[in-house]
């Protein structure tokens, strides 16, 4: 039975964060007074959350042309990162023309976001981490298996029930979490070059002159303005 589920499970997400960056975070964490290894050792995450609030950000004069990676250590546990990956690809799986959210490293970005020492990100942190923990616990509760190992139909049913407007009040909080998580995934995905291509952002190229809208665009506007009586 469990063997069968493992076969239908999905490949674990492999973090895009390289070892050099992880070591730099550890250095930062040590400098901030953390025990060496915090954030990488299971069980140290809570201590890391407390310590992260005393960590500094990238400062008021960061290098802009070739930015350094965000300097703060990541706070997600491996299980939370995997749950984030499952959710990322539920929200934006690969299409015929565009890569999946995980292929663009979006789970690592969500980890970077919720781990940041700034007020807006600190405010996002508890709901995101609790939501990911809830998702894993719900997989266990409904199907007695970890999220990654669920049969694909079971996983799809779980995620789809979360996305639907809740009738069961116990799903209110997870549903609100999903809205916020989705907004972060959308932001993270479409701010990449493949995201630009998929959404139709054609700028960020040097032009000799600004041409203004094409005839096709102007025709579209004229049609719409006519409908509005303008």
């Amino acid at each position: 039975m469990s063997h069968q589920k493992a076969q239908s499970g999905i490949t674990p997400y492999v973090s895009r964060v390289d070892r050099r960056t992880t070591l730099a975070w550890l250095g930062g964490a040590v400098a901030a007074g953390l025990a060496a290894g915090a954030g990488a050792v299971p069980g140290a995450a809570e201590a890391a959350v407390v310590a992260a609030n005393t960590l500094k950000g990238y400062g008021t004069d960061p290098k802009l042309t070739h930015p350094d990676k965000a300097p703060w250590p990541r706070l997600m546990t491996p299980a939370q990162l995997q749950a984030a990956a499952v959710l990322c690809d539920f929200i934006l799986p690969a299409s015929a023309d565009a890569p999946s959210a995980t292929a663009l490293g979006v789970p690592d970005f969500i980890d970077e976001w919720i781990s940041a020492p700034y007020p807006a990100q600190v405010a996002d942190r508890p709901a995101i981490l609790e939501g990911l923990d809830w998702l894993e616990a719900e997989a266990q509760r409904r199907h007695h298996a970890v999220l990654l190992q669920l049969a694909s139909a079971d996983r799809a049913a779980l995620l789809t029930s979360l996305a639907a407007k809740p009738t069961d009040p116990s799903l209110n909080k997870p549903h609100i979490f999903l809205w916020r998580f989705r907004a972060l995934v959308i932001g993270a995905y479409y701010t990449t070059k493949p995201g630009f291509k998929d959404i139709g952002y054609h700028g960020n190229v040097a032009l000799a002159a600004y041409p203004g809208p094409s005839d096709a665009v102007k025709a579209h506007l004229d049609r719409e303005l006519k409908k509005l009586g303008l």
Binding site: D61, L64, T65, A98, A116, G187, P211, L221, L228
Partner: protein, 566 residues
């Protein structure tokens, strides 16, 4: 060069940079002191960088309040080691400061509107505020010179109190973007004229500077020097004269006087070493930014000026103003599914709406006395993290291919409307020294006092009504969260970063600190050439006027120096 210099200039932004340009070209030996670090837009500007290369996708944080790629160095709403305070009972006030060569000209919005004839005579117009000691016609030649030097887009359109420039001053404005052509029809449908933007962005090469290539937001600065920054347009030619020394990290806190009561120089602390230095010159120009220039005067105490230099009549720090601001955005079904197009343009709007209600106000048909203009943003701008919120606000919780379709449909269908309006100076808005709080180096810091009047809150309410009308006219839906009550809708004091006043010019020492040339009434070889001297704060963004006034004042200073009259 050796001391004494002919002139010490404090600050390297619009006022200080313009003064350095004019005075060095006139042959005077100048020392320019800048509180921030050296900064080179050519090598430091993140041209073409995209959000995914930056921490948090470039989202704004307390370290970089306008986003990671914003040019501002070591600053924003707070500067490390340099606090300010808000007086008890005051409404909020925010003070944006950078610590970099060129100051705020590196990141500013580039909107460059001339003040009009009415703006110089507000008291004569409706009895409110104070008249300037100069007219529009007196300043106009310097507006012409500034536009020709820095490069400003625009077109003569013959609109009231919105001066047209003489032929040859302005560069051709770029074609309006798709959403700008759309919104123009909406405003015209309400009987409101739309004008070409006046922006300090080159659309044609000028003096060795390249024209805009219509990519990379101006707020990052510009490595090809296509927009106006003091660091690319004013300081290099001033350096080329051989008459300019520049010292960075020099935080000036005091003007020093000689025995006869004339300025003999300034004293500063080096922000890096913490050492204090005094330097000498035959004249001093303060251009540290309206509030910082007032702070220097207030901290320059002596037996003759126990309440601060030039403050005998208690005028220093008075009549602090900002612009009135508020914004509403809307989502427009008519813009959904537009064929993808490059909307980058010159990053600032290609159009704006000048104030259109002069006639109604002269007939007392509006419940607020002064006007505002409208700036718009939207279209298919480079996506940022706010796209998530946009999609959350405009649909169901879709995923997968349905989400991708929603994203393509919604993206580019929003337009943001922002009002920028005139504030009338009042007795409740001023700055003084905090009696307790000092900065890292022991120098007393500014304390702000702020209170909007009904003139401003009434105007903010009208802005919101106008935005809602035009959104409706164009079949759009306003984004929830806007306020129709002007008291709730209005920006916080200082938030629009147009703080001016505090060392105003006037007709006599009783009503002002400096004369029509920015020359102090009390110390004749001390000048102020930043926004502190402004007598009113019209809706037009102040930088172009600061540049014109600084040039005019510096010409006057150079004339006095030449004739040995300083």
């Amino acid at each position: 060069m050796s001391e004494p210099y002919d002139v010490i200039i404090v600050g390297s932004g619009a006022g200080g940079g313009m003064s350095a340009y004019t005075l060095t070209k006139a042959g005077l030996k100048v020392l320019l002191l800048e509180a921030g670090r050296n900064y080179d837009p050519v090598t430091e500007t993140p041209m073409f960088n995209i959000p995914s290369e930056a921490p948090l996708r470039g989202t704004s944080t307390p370290d970089k309040p306008f986003g990671f790629y914003d040019a501002t160095v070591d600053g924003g709403w707070q500067v490390p080691n340099e606090p300010y305070t808000i007086a008890e009972g005051s409404e909020p006030f925010m003070w944006w400061r950078p610590r970099m060569m060129g100051g705020r000209t590196n990141h500013w919005g580039r909107i460059s509107l001339r003040f009009g004839p009415l703006d110089f005579k507000p008291k004569s117009r409706d009895g409110l505020g104070q008249d300037w000691p100069i007219t529009y016609d007196e300043l106009a030649p310097w507006y012409d010179k500034v536009e020709r030097l820095i490069g400003v887009t625009g077109r003569a359109q013959g609109l009231p109190n919105t001066p047209d420039s003489p032929d040859g001053c302005l560069q051709p404005p770029p074609t309006p973007r798709a959403y700008e052509q759309f919104v123009t029809r909406g405003f015209n449908g309400l009987g409101i004229p739309v004008a070409a933007m006046h922006a300090a962005v080159l659309t044609q090469p000028l003096n060795g500077r390249a024209a805009c290539f219509y990519a990379t937001s101006c707020g990052r600065g510009c490595s090809i020097k296509a927009n106006f920054q003091s660091t690319t347009v004013l300081l290099p030619p001033a350096m080329a004269t051989g008459n300019l020394d520049i010292r960075a990290n020099a935080l000036v806190y005091q003007v020093d006087l000689d025995r006869t009561g004339k300025a003999k120089g300034v004293t500063f602390v080096d922000r890096v070493t913490g050492e204090h230095h005094s330097v000498t010159a035959r004249s001093v120009v303060l251009a540290a930014g309206a509030c910082e220039s007032a702070r220097i005067l207030l901290n320059s105490k002596s037996a003759a000026f126990p309440d601060g230099l030039c403050n005998t009549h208690g005028m220093v720090g008075r009549y602090l103003m900002d612009s009135v601001g508020t914004s509403v955005s809307g989502q427009f079904p008519a813009l959904e599914n537009l064929p993808p197009t490059n909307d980058d343009g010159m990053s600032v709007g290609h159009i704006y709406v000048p104030w259109w209600g002069y006639e109604k106000q002269s007939r007392k048909q509006l419940p607020f006395p002064r006007g505002y203009h409208i700036e718009m943003g939207g279209g298919r701008a480079m996506p940022g993290m706010n796209l998530g919120a946009m999609l959350s606000a405009s649909g169901d919780l879709t995923v997968g291919s349905a989400l991708r379709e929603d994203a393509r449909r919604i993206y580019g269908s929003y337009i943001g409307f922002a009002g920028r309006g005139e504030m009338i100076p009042n007795e409740d808005c001023y700055t003084d020294l905090d009696p307790q709080v000092k900065d890292k180096w022991g120098i007393p810091v500014l304390r702000f006092h702020w209170k909007w009047s009904e003139h401003e809150t009434g105007q903010a309410a009208h802005m919101v009504q106008t935005f809602l009308e035009v959104i409706d006219k164009l079949g759009g839906k306003p984004t929830p969260g806007y306020q129709t009550d002007g008291k709730q809708a209005i920006s916080r004091g200082g938030e629009i970063i147009h703080e001016v006043g505090t060392v105003r010019m006037g007709h006599s020492p009783e009503d002002s600190v400096v004369n029509a040339y920015g020359q102090s009434w009390a110390v004749k070889n001390l000048f102020v050439t930043d926004g502190a001297v402004l007598v009113s704060s019209p809706d037009k963004n102040p930088t172009l006027s600061i540049l014109a006034l600084a040039w005019r004042s510096s010409d006057h200073l150079a004339g006095l120096a030449r004739r040995g009259e300083l």
